[in-house]
Structure formats: structure tokens, C-alpha cells
Amino acid sequence: MLSPEKGIGKWIEDRLPVFSIARHSLIDYPTPRNLNYWWNFGSLAGITLVIMIVTGIVLAMQYTPHVDMAFNSVERIMRDVNYGWLLRYLHMNGGTMFFIVVYIHIFRGLYYGSYKAPREILWWLGIVILLLMMATAFMGYVLPWGQMSFWGTTVITNMFSAVPLVGEDIVTWLWGGFTVGNATLNRFFSLHYLLPFVIVGVVLMHIWALHTVKSNNPLGIDMKGPQDSIPFHPYYTVKDNFGLGVFFFVYLTIVFFFPNFFGEPDNYIPANPMATPPHIVPEWYFLPFYAILRAVPDKLGGVIAMFASILILFVLPWLDRARVRSARFRPIYKQFFWLFLVDCFVLGWVGANPPEGMFVTIGQVATIYYFAHFLILLPLLGMFEKTRPLPESIAASVTSAAVTSSKG
């Protein structure tokens, strides 16, 4: 083992302090001693990103971004490349796992108030990652060039035609032509390759911000001294590794036994600009936003609402004025948190169904509720909610919890 105290290790350390940085941020990093398993999802997201990049790069060695060849090149990967089916299913379902993990990670933040001071920039960087992931996944879904790839792209890029005056021009510019075609596929492949590395950059900043302000915790109170914290290693390295095992069990069960569960059968039909599929649905992770898009009767209004539904997260730290972070000590907020979660599921369900009959009304009510949660409920709660008393310190709470067993 290289050591920073002697020999080559010291030579390197004196010139580029990689050892002390690694030690500082992966080993000694003081972490609240009371983190629960919801805190596993950040490291899981990081690992998933690595898996996506590794499988993606290997797929790209065999993939051909051309409208006449893309579909068959993916099938060639599935059939003729050694373990190509495994790579492809890992990548395809890795996208799904990435969103499951990141959505849980975000809702963890909402529940425990992790977006509040001093973590606003950390929170912003997280939203930037979400937006980049969405763009990446959207463009990746185009690559196999099946029916849903083609028609999903057509519908979603067409959204931009709602922009006044220059809408049509923007769409033509995005497509690189007058329809979704070879130029579109090529640029989407190029960007699909690029954006994950941009995500890596933002993730590093996210972690930088985290290590500056330190982790929040289920109590939502600050660490006040060494008795409140434990070193990251070995406590959280081993806990994260156990979580990783569980994650892999779920992920690989899907990959090996239900690889197409989250997919659309239509995407196994080669793209055909002459035949529109009966229902065009985006990937499951976009469904709530798709529902918001369609809930507004006006096209431009729908697009604005859809973007606003994510962008509103940027101002969340100022909409929620409550000083107490964790929902554990906010009895009313806690209930609205769960209602909000249910609302998101309802939106997803509406998004998966054609915009007819009761789905129209449900979608509109759920959309209004979504925004009301942020714009009305949270500011009011900040003013009127009576919060429960906070514990003295993390250490104090941990020792008393050992007696009374911890509460959600």
C-alpha cells in the first residue's frame, strides 16, 4: 500500500494531496450518527450513474446512430454480441433504477427538510442533476429507434412549437430538419453521450456542497460536537455497501427476470413515420409531468406548468418558512407530505392513461393540488403550524431512543 508518509506516496502527496483529500472526504468525514436507511439513496444514485456510464460506453461500441440501422444494431447487440443482452438490459433498467433511487432521494429531502438553510445550493445542484438526467434519459430512449422512440420524441419536441412566434423555428432547429429524422437521432446520440459526464461534474459539486454543510439527519438538528457524529468509514461505508447489496438484488431481479417490465412493447416495432401507435406514452418516470402537461387545456400553458412543476423546487427553501426541518417534529406538514406523495402517484397514473373521461378531471385536480402544496400549504404551515419540541442534541436523542425505540 502507498502511504502518504513515505516513499512514492509522500512524493505524490507533497505535489497533489490526493491522500489527504480521500481521507478527509471518504474516511474521517464526520457524519451524524443517527442516519436511517433513507440516507442510502445518495450513494446508490452515484453508483447507478457509474453503471450507466460503463454500460453505455460499451453499448456505444456496437450501436449505430442511423435511422436505417439503429434498430437492427440494438438487436444485433441483443443477439450476436457476447452478453450484449445483459449490457443492454442493465442499461435499459439502470435508467429505471436511477429514477427510482433519485426520486426516493428527493422525497427523503422533502420529508426531513434537507433543502433548508444552509443546504439551499446543495438542493439546487440536486435539481440540476434531475433535469440533466431527464434530458439524458429522454434522448437515450430515442436511440433504439422503435415506434415509441420515434413518436415519443415527436410529441415531446413538438411541445416547443407552443412558444409564441419562434416555436416552429425552435422545433425545426431541435430536429435538424422538418421531421424527426437522421439528424435528430445523431444529435440525440451525441448529447446522450455527453450529458452523463456533465452530470458527473454536477454530482462532484453536489458532494462538495454536502461536505461543506454536512449531512442533514432524521432529527433535522445540527451536529453540535463530536458526540453527535461518527466517521464515515467504517460506519457508513459498510451500511452503504449493505444497501448496495439490496439494491443489486432488486435491480438484477428485474434485469434477469423482468427485463421488459418497465418498457413498452411498441418499442420492439421499428420506427415508422407512417404509422402512429394508438397511445403514445413516455417512460414511466415522466408520467407525472406528462399528466401536468396535459392537464392544462392550453398548449403553451401546459408546457409552462410542466416546467414550473420542477422549477418550483428551486424556490422551495423560501416557500417553506418553517424553522424546524424534520417532518418528525411537524405534525401537520407530515400529513401533507404523504398527501403530496399520493398526489404524485395519482399524476403518474393519470399520465399513463389516455386523456379522456374522468382522467381529465382527476389530472386537473391533482395538478392544482401539486402547485397548491408548494404555493399555498407550505407558506401557511410555516406561519401557523405548531411544531413539536426539538431534542437537545443528536447524541441525547440517540441514547433516549435506545430506551423508547425510535419513531418515524
Binding site: F242, F256, N353
Partner: protein, 261 residues
């Protein structure tokens, strides 16, 4: 700690439930008015495998019935060796078809018998020719059919066995359309392809409509997912490994954390 563990499990349960919810509502919608029943398939389940005899019979049905209209463009003759056809048999099957090749040294295109490395030869040179011979309808390539329809193998079997001699009272049939209770809209441009004794099975199995439909569907399930057996058997080993590793990590975690309290 108990509470935490419970929450953890709940997280995954919620995620899975989300998947089920979205996944199922989608398919329930699309197959809403369709009538096809769930069949027993040997390739379902975590230990699923393709029945070799059924694959052989299914291949025979494809060759003798379906291949006059439908291509199988993603499958090569050599792939037959993966399902226990001998090299001789696969070569023989290939050589029954002619493919265009070239240009030769004189710059001419020529035809030659197909080889193991060729893909299954399509019945028509292009879509127009296929439509021209089929009353304007296009018989789609069958390589991925089982993966490309909601309901998969069950749906395919449903279509093959779903023909009625006459449309029910009050249903107005369009020109050149046949009534099929499993096909969306019930009007299909494909004439009933399989009848009692359409083929004479080499292994002597009675060639009923149900038998042939089941066999050819099994064959097409294989063409859609040729990796299925390898995937499932590798999957079991991998999951057992992950399970053991995770249990071990859990034990280590308990042990390390026990020092804290």
C-alpha cells in the same frame, strides 16, 4: 432500528408498487377489449426453458405455413444450432432458399443457395411486393412479434386460434378482412393461416389447430428472446450470489455498528 428497517422495505415496496401500477394500468388499457387467455408456457417462470420438441415442430409450422407471407429477418440459419438442430440439418434448411449475392468478379449479381450465416430469407423483396400479394395489407416480420405486442405469447396464440367462421350478427366486415376475436378491432387482414392438419408433423404429434398454434408461438417466443434460457440460468446464480453477499454485509454492518452503543 426496527423502524428503520421497516421503512427501508417499505421504500422498495412503494417503488415496486409504483411500477406495477403504471405498468399494469397501461396494459390493462390496451388489452381492454381483447379476448385472449393465459396459457401455460414452458418458458415462463424463473426456471423457464423452451421445449425443444415444440421448437422443432414450431419451426416446421413456420416454414410450411407462415414463411410464405412473413419474414424472420433477425434470425440466421446458424441460430437453429442453438436449439439443437444439427449443423447438417441447419445447412439443409438454409440451402432450400436462394439469396442474391454479388457482385462477382465480372460485376454481376447472382443467386446462390443460402448458407448458415444468412438470415432467414424473406418471402418478398420489399414491402410493396408484400402488400401487393396480400390485398394491400403488410404481413409484419415475426422475429420480435412476441415482444412487440401486449400479452406476448398469449396474445399470439389468441390470434392464431381466434378465427370465427362467420362474423357475429351485426358486425360489418370490411373487404378482405377476417373476423378474429383476439385481434384489436376484430378485423384482421390475415386469412386464417392454420387449419386441422395444415402440416404433417415429423414426430407424429397430431396436428390440431391448438397444437400447431402453440408450437409456432413457442418458436416465435424463441426468435424474440433467444437469450432467455441463458439469461434465466445466469440470473439464478447471480441472485444467489448477491443474496449471500448482502447477508454477509448485513452481518458485518451489525457487528461494526454494535460497537457504537
Amino acid at each position: 432500528m426496527k423502524m428503520h428497517r421497516f421503512l427501508f422495505v417499505a421504500a422498495f415496496a412503494a417503488a415496486m408498487a409504483a411500477g406495477l401500477l403504471f405498468g399494469n394500468f397501461g396494459s390493462a388499457k390496451a388489452s381492454g377489449d381483447l379476448a385472449f387467455e393465459h396459457q401455460e408456457w414452458t418458458f415462463n417462470g424463473i426456471f423457464g426453458r423452451f421445449d425443444r420438441a415444440a421448437l422443432r415442430r414450431g419451426h416446421q409450422v413456420y416454414q410450411e405455413v407462415c414463411s410464405s407471407c412473413h419474414g424472420l429477418s433477425l434470425v440466421a440459419y446458424r441460430n437453429l444450432m442453438d436449439i439443437d438442430f444439427s449443423e447438417e440439418e441447419a445447412k439443409e434448411i438454409a440451402a432450400e432458399n436462394e439469396v442474391e449475392d454479388g457482385p462477382n468478379n465480372e460485376g454481376e449479381m447472382f443467386t446462390r443457395p443460402a448458407k448458415l450465416s444468412d438470415r432467414f430469407v424473406a418471402p418478398f423483396p420489399n414491402e410493396q411486393a408484400a402488400r401487393y400479394s396480400n390485398n394491400g395489407a403488410y404481413p409484419p416480420d415475426l422475429s420480435l412479434m412476441v415482444k412487440a405486442r401486449k400479452g406476448g405469447a398469449d396474445y399470439l396464440y389468441g390470434v392464431l386460434t381466434g378465427y370465427e367462421d362467420e362474423a357475429p350478427e351485426g358486425v360489418e366486415m370490411m373487404d378482405g378482412m377476417y373476423f378474429n376475436h383476439s385481434f384489436p378491432g376484430h378485423q384482421i387482414a390475415m386469412p386464417q393461416p392454420i387449419y386441422e392438419d395444415s402440416v404433417e408433423y415429423e414426430d407424429g404429434t397430431p396436428a390440431t389447430v391448438a397444437q400447431m398454434s402453440k408450437d409456432v408461438t413457442t418458436f416465435l417466443a424463441w426468435t424474440a428472446e433467444p437469450e432467455l434460457e441463458e439469461r434465466k440460468s445466469l440470473g439464478i446464480k447471480v441472485l444467489i450470489f448477491v443474496l449471500l453477499l448482502t447477508a454477509l454485509l448485513y452481518a458485518v454492518k451489525r457487528r461494526i455498528w454494535s460497537k457504537l452503543h
